[in-house]
Symmetry: C2
Subunit: 150 residues, 2 copies
């Protein structure tokens, strides 16, 4: 893992909670989450588009979606105590950054995983929220096995 | 290239200008630029830190830095005519997204390239702007050879 030295302090007390409450990892994970979801959505929309036109889009994944996914994946315990939705979202971002730093999944692996998990009418805002939540829940359940034993 | 179908319309009129003026690519590139710079800065700050403490940070790269890098790399001609700083920055983002989609550089390749190009005191805001501009200029000069012949 080429970036091992960036995780040295985390590796010294390696628990899901120490990863899930790390602010720096959450900041980097925020970028990974937005980028991978943007590309996954572009892939999904291009594949279902009947006009054969490529669709490329970029967006920010709402904290609400990430917080809900953490709950559904039963991983709320990796957040700090008395966490709010923002903290839960930060935990998702930190866990995803950790997985990327540890080379367990590349950006493309995450993009493909999310794209395969997407469904429904993503042009409908409430349907997108629901389906993006499912996609991130699936991703969290998938990465659980790469996290330290609790 | 697994995402070739996402570029089909661009590949049909493949010029640096058609890449550099694509809004969807710019949106995705915005995420790539912010993510790669955030990690590159984290690596650079961790390496020079004498306390042996890992530093992880996430941030948005200003449009001003990217626009200036495009000018310095002599690639302004890939923007639309009468472009402003925002358009120039979009061009940088679109070109970087194109390079990533075409598998010419991975996210980690870009992170390493930017980290190696960084120097100076990045805690000093004006010095960071200056040095980040140099790093992105170097990246643009490096990717030039992967772009279509003009």
């Amino acid at each position: 893992m080429p970036y091992e030295f960036l995780l040295e302090d985390i590796n010294s007390i390696l628990t899901c909670k120490s990863i899930g409450t790390d602010k720096g990892l959450a900041k980097i994970g925020d970028g990974i989450v937005n980028l991978t979801y943007s590309i996954a959505k572009s892939i999904f929309l291009t594949k279902i588009n009947k006009n054969n036109k490529s669709i490329r889009t970029g967006l920010k994944v709402s904290k609400k979606i990430l917080a809900e996914a953490l709950k559904k994946a039963d991983m709320k315990k990796f957040s700090k105590s008395r966490a709010d939705a923002h903290d839960f979202a930060d935990t998702v971002e930190a866990l995803i950054a950790y997985i990327w730093f540890r080379d367990k999944m590349t950006i493309k692996d995450m993009v493909n995983f999310l794209a395969d998990s997407l469904s429904g009418d993503l042009y409908n805002r409430s349907e997108e929220i629901q389906n993006a939540t499912i996609a991130f829940t699936n991703l969290l359940l998938h990465i659980k096995k790469f996290l330290p034993e609790s």
